[in-house]
Amino acid sequence: MHDNMEIPVGPQHPALKEPASFRLSLSGEKIMQASVRLGYNHRGIEKACEERTYIQDLYLIERICGICSHAHSTAFAQAVEEIAGVNLPKRAAYIRTLVGELERIHSHLLWLGVAGHEIGFDTLLMYTWADREIVMDILANVTGNRVNYGINSLGGVRRDISPEQVRQIAKAMDALEERTKYYIELASVETTLINRLSGVGVMSKKDVLRLGTVGPTARASGVARDVRKDDPYAAYAEINFNVVTDNHNDIYGRTIVRLGELMESFNIIRQVIKNLPDGPIAVKVARKIPSGEAVSRYEAPRGEDLHYVKANGTESPERVKVRAPTLANIQSVAFMLEDRYLADMPIVVAAIDPCFSCTDRSIAIKDAEGKGKKKKIVDWESLRLHGIEWYSKQGIDFTALNKRFKR
């Protein structure tokens, strides 16, 4: 018996178009141990938030994620509104819910396509992404942008919805529902899909609870965990909907859950546009937010998104902390990979619908002056100088380049 072989997967776009690194210890074709390394896409957004005003932060926070941007901006706005003691107008809450659900539809359709691509079912990718254009056009029409909608403002939303738009949304929902019914039928009869996804990436209910998994990944293992039901925000308290769960515990179950959630989203949107209350779409919020702190939760398409905001009475926050859903799910990926075949890795990673750049928030320094002799804390300037020195030792000089690009 020879030793296990260690292979690195990533950080250059393993499985999906985002940087993350996996270190897999293999015995033959079986993964014995998997460890995930994040941090390749750390953008310093939390720190940047502290240097900007609340209004500017809203657009910065939105750019944490390109797919669930409304989730992040709503969670941030909710936290700031809670500190400022603002009551959201009802119409604004309904419009936020509407955009949130439209976003869920486009995210789940996108996932279905990506999952199809990962298992070599590219026809599904072409089909779902073509259907996704319907909802993308609606989002562009309602909010102004296809992605990073910019619909939220502190104290409400920035754009109202016209009766014409309501008619268009209702029409699009009918078209999308018909397509989703087709995908649900496909998922129940298509043998290649069922055989490829069943029994892959298995996570029992016990493991889900132990690892704190969130979103559709948890719901596919029979854990009815959904912020929209548990801690209703926006207009969800007034809307009837079911939390879709499944007991397959594997990726097939996650597919069924996401397809079921699409049907629930159509149902929610129909209720929202039917009961859209009249009134103002926003209230004025002062530029200076009184000191205080708040935690806000939002059920993003990928799971629970958590924002913490601390205000100090000025125009900028003192601290913003974001916990994207992928961070909660990433440990379950390592768990699901273990004792499975290497060929299952892309779909197992893709099945949690990961978003690594959303996840890369902060770096914890463990044991800085302890046992690890080489570790030490350096400030930004000395790190920069160290970088220049290191490169000049390799014979690379940046002085000329720096001069050229200096504005």
Partner: protein
């Protein structure tokens, strides 16, 4: 493995042969932007009072308002920095900024991305002519 409903499959395959593609030949066929989508900014110098709230609220500092003397203001917008969020339009108290749906803004020369909306000509010069 059993094949489910081959008849439906054949009709779909044959149907796809005669279907038009869903994509359009974009640069050759003009694409109309979706109604309500945000594009290039527009500045009305005669309405601007120079409060610079737009500069303050711009998340990327893409807009600069300059006083050219006599309370006449010009705006410089860096299209490379602009994220087309339209916050400046919301912030403007005098509606001196508006958003258009012009979206084909790519340039090879970065200098061309800096768009300057000049201030209105001096009123006294108008009177003299």
């Amino acid at each position: 493995m059993k094949m489910t409903r081959p008849g439906k499959m054949i009709s779909m395959v044959l149907g796809s042969l005669f279907k038009k593609p869903l994509t359009t030949k974009y640069p050759y066929v003009k694409s109309k932007p979706i109604e309500g989508s945000r594009g290039k900014l527009k500045f009305y110098p005669e309405k601007c009072i120079g409060c610079k709230l737009c500069m303050k609220d711009c998340p990327t500092k893409a807009i600069t308002i300059r006083d050219t003397g006599d309370k006449r203001f010009e705006a410089e917008i860096d299209l490379g920095k602009c994220i087309y969020c339209g916050q400046c339009v919301d912030s403007c108290l005098k509606k001196a900024l508006a958003i258009t749906d012009e979206f084909e803004l790519a340039e090879l020369d970065p200098k061309k991305l800096r768009v300057i909306f000049h201030a209105k000509p001096k009123e006294d010069t108008k009177e003299q002519t």
